[in-house]
């Protein structure tokens, strides 16, 4: 019986990051594609497949709680520009796993740090398509 994968280890630059549960998601960096019709006359329409390369970047999103350690990490990721490496590794109880490595990851948003009882910071990395 398959089990929903809801738990994964997130490492940024070989450092495990504690994230808010159920906040992690990623894209494969395959981008968006379009299927365009081409008329060949006589009612014949064939298909033209187009890959929008502008969207061919992967993203990794998660949230972190506001602690002094995490505030320092956020700043370091920001200062690294696009020289971060993000790894996600998740395994289900049957032993099958999902591992993705995102190179040249950049933390691009101008993030806000809420100094609140349940404050979280949403992190989005844009990176090369994972291997």
């Amino acid at each position: 019986m398959a089990t929903q994968l809801s738990d994964a280890v997130v490492e940024v630059n070989d450092d495990v990051v504690g994230i808010v549960p159920n906040s992690l998601s990623f894209t494969e960096g395959k981008g968006e594609q379009r299927v365009l019709p081409v008329s060949e006359g006589g009612g014949r329409v064939s298909q033209l497949f187009a890959n929008d390369l502008e969207s061919n970047f992967a993203t990794v999103s998660f949230s972190v709680r506001v602690t002094t350690v995490n505030i320092a990490k956020l700043l370091a990721w920001k200062e690294n520009a696009n020289r971060n490496l993000v790894t996600i590794a998740g395994e289900d109880p049957d032993g099958s796993d999902v591992i993705r490595t995102f190179s040249q990851a950049a933390f691009t948003s101008d993030y806000e740090v809420p100094i609140q009882a349940e404050g979280v910071v949403d992190v989005v990395f844009m990176a090369n398509a994972p291997t």
Binding site: E11, D14, R83, N84, Q104, A105
Partner: protein, 161 residues
């Protein structure tokens, strides 16, 4: 006395460098600081006991270890001299010999490993490829063989005398 040594990994590990996964080939290990005097003292005492055990048993290993320890204490501090550098190379104890010496003594080898590993993992001691701090996930990637050899090399370089 050397202030750092370079250990070449037998099994390279992957780590993040400049946003790319890269294979680490060597680890730079620096001499211990005063932050860990208890660990330094314990390891030095265990090494001394191992040397004594081997002397009592008449082992050749102890002669080499004792000579290296005596020469370390007596040699010229001028590290610019080429003769001194070549002397250092000739007189250093082989890390595998150091581990063998400890393993065949009454010293608790597991505790030696644990204590020396704690020293290696202290701030400012071990760096991959000379400049990258080794995080806990990276430490877990080293093989047992490499970890053992690094411990042997560290003891031989900094904790023998």
């Amino acid at each position: 006395m050397e202030h750092e040594i370079t250990y070449k990994l037998e099994t390279p590990i992957r780590y993040a460098r400049g946003g790319e996964p890269t294979d680490a080939v060597e680890v730079v290990l620096r001499e211990p600081t005063q932050e860990h005097m208890e660990e330094i003292g314990n390891v030095r005492q265990w090494v001394a006991r191992a040397i004594q055990d081997a002397a009592d048993a008449g082992s050749d290993a102890v002669r080499e270890a004792k000579e290296a320890a005596e020469d370390e204490a007596a040699k010229d501090v001028d590290s610019d001299s080429e003769d001194t550098e070549s002397d250092e190379e000739d007189e250093s104890v082989d890390p595998k010999m150091m581990i063998a010496l400890l393993a065949t003594s009454t010293v608790p080898l597991g505790k030696v490993y644990q204590t020396t590993r704690k020293l290696l993992q202290a701030q400012g001691i071990a760096f991959i490829d000379g400049d990258t701090k080794i995080t806990p996930p990276l430490w877990r990637k080293f093989t047992g063989g490499d970890m053992e050899a690094m411990i042997g090399a560290y003891i031989a370089a900094f904790l023998l005398r």
